[in-house]
């Protein structure tokens, strides 16, 4: 990597200065304050707190449901993006706008709405309960909420990429003798993969930190439906700042590791495509 300015516009030094300042002030400063607070615990105490059984159960739920939720979004998000880009139908722009709604809605509103719909006596909760499927106040409900808030990420990252793929390319593949599956597998999928991965990573990261919508639908039963962010709030409630930041630090490191991994995967996918 070389340190040089590309392009004709001046001001590289200044803009990099801004970048460093901006990222430092807004991201690194609060994060280092957090780590500093967590480090006020001794190492053994820190370890004890972050590997507590209740914390482990919370990680499992948080990471598990965030993963499943964003995986669902990766699959169905691409589908939604595909439909929105490739087809023209009445009400398309409305559907397009609806996709962004989970972004705009205060998450508590989303949580309350989802709970109302899926609780025992809710519109969907009642028939589902008759089938023996409980959604609200179970891990399924948590996954549901996390899927809801993640929808826009995949759709919005895949959409512009899809728009750039000319339908001609598919036709060319067909003319050259590719089956429909081959066209998808060899032509379209590789082009969409990096964007899908980015969308997945964004949705995943967002879902991990989600608090507002989940606390309403999860029921917050210790060991069963308690998400990690709630555990942090619980610790704050007993003024255990250090314990709260210890759990937060674990979340931070884990999320950072996963985002890094996804970024690497994405680069690999892009290289494979090129």
């Amino acid at each position: 990597m070389r340190f040089k300015t590309r392009g004709v516009l001046p001001g590289f030094g200044l803009s990099l200065g801004y970048t460093v300042l901006y990222v430092g002030l807004l991201v690194l400063l609060p994060l280092s304050a957090m780590i500093l607070k967590a480090s006020s615990l001794g190492l053994s105490e820190f370890w004890l707190k972050v590997t507590d059984e209740r914390a482990l159960a919370a990680y499992r739920l948080s990471f598990g449901s965030a993963f499943v939720g964003s995986l669902l979004n990766a699959v169905f998000g691409v589908l939604v993006a595909w439909v929105l880009v490739r087809y023209r139908f009445p009400g398309r722009s409305i559907v397009d706008a609806l996709v962004d709604l989970p972004f705009a809605l205060p998450t508590a509103v989303a949580g309350i709405a989802l709970t109302t719909v899926y609780a025992e006596h809710g519109v969907l909760g009642e028939p589902l309960a008759k089938l023996g499927l409980k959604v609200a106040f179970t891990p399924l409900g948590v996954t549901m909420a996390l899927t809801f808030i993640g929808i826009p990420f995949v759709v919005r990252t895949v959409q512009p990429v899809l728009e750039e793929i000319d339908p001609d390319v598919e036709e060319a593949a067909a003319v050259l003798g590719a089956t429909r599956f081959q066209t998808f597998r060899r032509v379209i999928f590789p082009a969409l993969l990096p964007a899908t991965l980015t969308g997945f990573a964004l949705a995943f990261a967002r879902a991990l930190g989600e608090y507002g919508s989940v606390v309403f639908i999860s029921g917050n039963m210790p060991m069963r439906t308690e998400i990690t962010p709630l555990l942090i709030v619980t610790k704050l409630e007993q003024y255990d700042y250090a314990g709260a930041t210890a759990i937060a630090a674990v979340m931070l490191v884990a999320s950072f590791g996963m985002l890094l991994l996804v970024n690497l995967l994405e680069r690999w996918a892009r290289r494979a495509e090129a």
């Binding site: 340190f3 200065g17 002030l25 109302t116 025992e120 990252t157 606390v215 709630l230 680069r267």
Partner: protein
């Protein structure tokens, strides 16, 4: 979204020292400029904040006084109470001191509110749900003196309440007392005592009931409370959330809640669907109030803030308290509103649990008894 961004985000590109140095220097210069700017803003706002203080002192001599503003940081269900009380106090203070006073209110979960004050929200007075949340202002923040609770009459709690039940119309599960809550097939709605102050009162009320039964001891109480919480299908994070679960979502057979909240929801919102049930024994909840010394001294609002809290104890203040379904301390006022406050055998947290400073770590902190109820045995 730019997908290429990820490839350049790996690290700061190492480059010629000079260029990098310049960049850093510029960054630093910006930082200095920015903080200077912030500092200036701070000073400005401080000056603005100090204005009423200084002018207040000056106003003692002058006939026309500058209006003063108080911030009362409180917990959730007191919203209506203090709305009415603030208006009454403003009138009282105008008559007495000839000064206009505006009281701003902040409401939220009690613990969150206490943390906000601890972290620098400049409350002149706090009126919170638990002594524990106020004590923390002394313990961790040194915002109030050690003797804060004895500065005002009755443990600094000008009004009290207790914990009661709300059941569905007709009481289909025949819930009369605490022991009915541990019956099989009864669903109990109460928030998590880990996150909700109100829920901690609920828990202690149940514990106290079990202790007060013939032959009741710690082990029996623990068993009783464990059994009760086995009947809790959802632990909402706050009291309002639990009420929503019970009233709106129609989950559960009984809601454990503050008396003032219960009367409010039964009498005013859901006359046809809900009924109030008062158990034989319950806990006397004493939500304490205090002036935040460090902040009133900074704002120069001590005199008016103290008068504000003392006004809560006057017959006029007590009447407002009773009208909002809190039990007044004043005997005459209580007698007047007797009809809405049925007799219950009440115990205090000091009586049975040795105060909040003991009850909190024993029962609610990490690893405490509430956690043990849920933690699988090793």
């Amino acid at each position: 979204m730019n997908h290429r961004s990820s490839s350049s985000s790996s690290a700061l590109p190492p480059g010629p020292r000079r260029a990098f140095g310049i960049t850093l220097a510029r960054g630093a210069a910006l930082l200095v400029a920015l903080s200077a700017g912030l500092g200036a803003c701070n000073k400005k706002s401080e000056a603005a904040g100090a204005a009423p203080a200084g002018s207040n002192a000056a106003a003692v001599a002058a006939p026309s006084k500058v209006p003063v503003t108080l911030l009362n940081v409180s917990y959730d269900p007191t919203r209506e109470l203090y709305q009415e009380f603030n208006t009454a106090f403003a009138k009282h203070w105008k008559d007495k001191a000839g000064q206009d006073v505006k009281v701003n209110q902040s409401h939220g979960g009690g613990g969150k509110q206490a943390r906000a004050v601890l972290d620098g929200l400049e409350a002149d007075v706090v009126t919170l749900a638990l002594g524990y949340d106020v004590a923390i202002l002394q313990d961790k923040g040194k915002l109030i003196p050690e003797n804060w609770q004895s500065r005002l009459p009755q443990n600094s709690a000008p009004y009290t309440s207790t914990i009661v039940f709300v059941v569905r119309k007709g009481n289909p599960k025949k819930i009369k007392d605490w022991n009915d809550l541990t019956r099989e097939g009864v669903q109990v709605i109460t928030p998590s005592p880990k996150t909700s102050g109100g829920a901690r009162w609920n828990y202690l009320a149940a514990w106290g009931y079990a202790l007060k039964q013939p032959g009741g001891d710690e082990a029996k109480a623990r068993e009783f409370v464990s059994k009760l919480y086995k009947n809790v299908p959802v632990l909402d994070s706050g009291a309002r959330g639990a009420t929503t679960t019970f009233v709106e979502r129609k989950i559960g057979d009984v809601l454990i809640t503050w008396e003032n909240e219960a009367i409010l929801s039964v009498h005013e919102f859901a006359k046809d669907n809900l009924e109030l049930v008062v158990p034989s024994v319950s806990v006397l909840t004493e939500p304490p109030v205090t002036v935040v010394d460090k902040n009133v001294d900074k704002h120069g609002t001590r005199e008016v803030a103290e008068a504000y809290l003392q006004f809560l104890y006057t017959p006029e203040g007590q009447a407002i308290v009773a009208k909002n379904y809190y039990r007044p301390r004043d005997a005459a006022t209580l007698a007047k509103y007797k009809a809405q406050f049925p007799d219950v055998q009440l115990f205090t947290v000091d009586d049975l649990f040795g105060g909040w400073s003991k009850a909190q770590p024993t029962h609610f902190n990490d690893g405490g008894i509430f956690d043990q109820i849920y933690q699988p045995k090793k």
